[in-house]
């Protein structure tokens, strides 16, 4: 899913850079407004996890592989804003140090995987949660389904970018069908990895799962009540 340099015209890539800067800027501001102390090391851990697991390409069809994008995984664990920053950080490290994803395509990749994948994917997660039972196992399933959908959303994001600034004369309809078809399969892998990971964290430290905060027993503030009996 990492777009290399050259696939998309410079004009569209620069426009995507602007959207990406906006996405990261808003996410940084929102995160600075809302984050909890314990989320700082957790977000670092999530970014490192996404980096490592993105290296684990799994085969999906003859001669084709896929890997985790991690947007919903990150957003459900640390919240959408920190999650989008985690994915953007991974993409920046990959482009600058690993030559994975073009440097000029960084904005495009942030739009697809952080804006659509993490923020968009978290919106899907929230929508699914509204119509499903509020239990811990169901939250894990909701995250898995949203993760799968987010991969297809990211692949459609690429298609829009390709439609706007694709270099070469290729049938857009064929690219759409191929992108969505293959990324549906990759989305199944994304759903499995996301479900297993969120499920594991829920088993060990459910209090660290942002997307399931509403299921945690609330801390009550008990003030000494003025003696009414008597």
């Amino acid at each position: 899913m990492h777009i290399p340099d050259g696939f998309i015209s410079t004009g569209v890539a620069v426009a995507a850079d602007a959207v990406a800067v906006g996405t990261v800027g808003v996410s940084l501001k929102k995160a600075a407004d809302t984050m909890e102390d314990k989320q700082a090391p957790l977000a670092g851990l999530v970014a490192a996890f996404v980096f490592a697991v993105q290296m684990l390409n799994f085969p999906i069809a003859a001669g084709t592989s896929g890997h985790l994008l991690g947007g919903v995984l990150a957003a459900v664990l640390v919240g959408p804003w920190l999650g989008a920053i985690c994915i953007s950080l991974v993409l920046i490290v990959q482009a600058l140090f690993l030559a994975d994803g073009g440097v000029s395509a960084l904005g495009l990749n942030i739009v697809n995987m952080a804006l659509l994948g993490a923020l968009g994917g978290y919106a899907v997660f929230t929508a699914i949660r509204r119509i499903t039972p509020r239990t811990k196992p169901v939250v894990v399933l909701d995250a898995a389904v949203a993760a799968g959908i987010s991969v297809v959303m990211a692949s459609i994001g690429f298609w829009v970018e390709y439609a706007l600034g694709g270099v070469g004369e290729v049938s857009l309809r064929a690219v759409f069908a191929a992108m969505v078809g293959i990324h549906f399969l990759i989305g199944v892998g994304e759903a499995i990895i996301t479900g297993l990971t969120i499920g594991a964290v829920m088993a060990v430290r459910p209090d660290l799962v942002y997307g399931a905060r509403d299921l945690m027993p609330r801390l009550e503030v008990r003030s000494p009540t003025p003696a009414q009996e008597g």
Binding site: M1, D37, A40
Partner: protein
């Protein structure tokens, strides 16, 4: 939650992550990923240009100078994890500091839970 448990969780998590990067990543599929497959089949793969960072010491998840491909990939993964975690800790630590300064009376973690 208590800080000691959180430190333990992060340390344990890091060990798992480093293990995935070093031991499992060399076993990953080397086939082109979904996007590259589409590019090859649809016929626009040749429009790809080399990344500006393609000459870097970790380019393509291979550590320059380490001949063994699996070892090289594993090491590149470990270094990449270290870079990502390092920058992340600085960045997220800074965000936490900004938040704490803005709302000094809400510094503790339990108090800020919505």
């Amino acid at each position: 939650m208590d800080r000691k448990n959180l430190t333990l969780f992060v340390a344990g998590g890091l060990i798992v992550i480093l293990g995935l990067a070093f031991f499992v990543s060399p076993l990953a599929s080397k086939s082109p990923d979904g996007l590259n497959r589409v590019a090859i089949d649809a016929g626009f793969a040749d429009t790809q240009k080399d990344s500006a960072t393609a000459g870097g010491p970790l380019a393509g998840y291979q550590v320059k100078g380490v001949e063994n491909e699996s070892l090289s990939r594993g090491l590149a993964g470990v270094i990449g994890v270290a870079i990502t975690f390092g920058i992340g800790m600085i960045l997220f630590g800074t965000l936490r500091t900004i938040r704490a300064r803005r709302r000094p009376d809400e510094g503790s973690e339990a108090a800020s839970a919505p």
